[in-house]
């Protein structure tokens, strides 16, 4: 891309169709922020357990409710996505896998692994309930 000055121009987000790799990059941030919010539930769970049986029952009741399970499902998917994509970022940090064919394949691996791990976790989780 050029803007007449010969200097490179950033993609204009309103007219530029983001490739999958770019969408997955911003998804990494979005899931990261979402998981940050999820730490509130983690804190509630642990503090409630330390506070006593009634507080813990309230927390477990919320987690076991429809809304709680919906949140938990979202967080599990976000967690696995952020985990898998995070490992791919570590590979990038090592200076490897920057070719377009490599990134396209890694896109599929990350999305596939995150989906499989999420589904597996819920199968095991609901079986162990």
């Amino acid at each position: 891309m050029a803007n007449g000055s010969g200097r490179p121009l950033s993609p204009h987000l309103q007219v530029y169709k983001l490739p999958l790799t770019a969408l997955m990059s911003i998804a990494h941030r979005i899931t990261g922020v979402g998981l940050g919010v999820g730490t509130l539930l983690l804190t509630w769970w642990l503090v409630a357990a330390a506070a006593g049986p009634e507080a813990f029952a309230r927390a477990q009741g919320f987690i076991g409710s429809f809304f709680g399970l919906l949140l938990l499902f979202g967080w599990s998917a976000a967690l696995y996505y952020h985990l898998c994509n995070g490992v791919r970022h570590l590979v990038w940090d090592a200076g490897k896998s920057f070719e377009l064919t490599d990134t396209a394949r890694a896109n599929q691996i990350v999305l596939g692994a995150a989906a499989v791990l999420t589904v597996l976790t819920w199968i095991v989780g609901l079986a162990a309930w």
Partner: protein
Amino acid sequence: MASNTKTLRSPLAHVRGLGSAKHGTEHWWGQRLTAIALVPLTVWFVFGVIRHLGADHAAFLAWMKSPFSALMMILTAAVTFHHAQSGLQVVIEDYIHVEWQKLALLIAVKFLSFALAAACVLAVVKIFIGA
């Protein structure tokens, strides 16, 4: 760089490589270290959550009274909050351009992360020692 006579950086600053923020790659490296640590910790945590989804209070206490579980939970909480606040810091720095809003958010995220991490650790310790 020796041939570049236009640089304004002193040879000492160049060798130190700490950049304008004087922290070099410290923040970046901290994010990566916590990311690597969180791979095994997260796997342990997910399995722990699955096993205690519908657990009663006594079962949860028994879990956290095991030294290994208590240790892993404390590590998970501490490293998670460290990773979360360093990631949120980058997001805030990238998207919030009004200086006072950026500063206020950064301070809020740091304070909240430390407070929540301390609450998690204290909760596990309290259960572990049975106080």
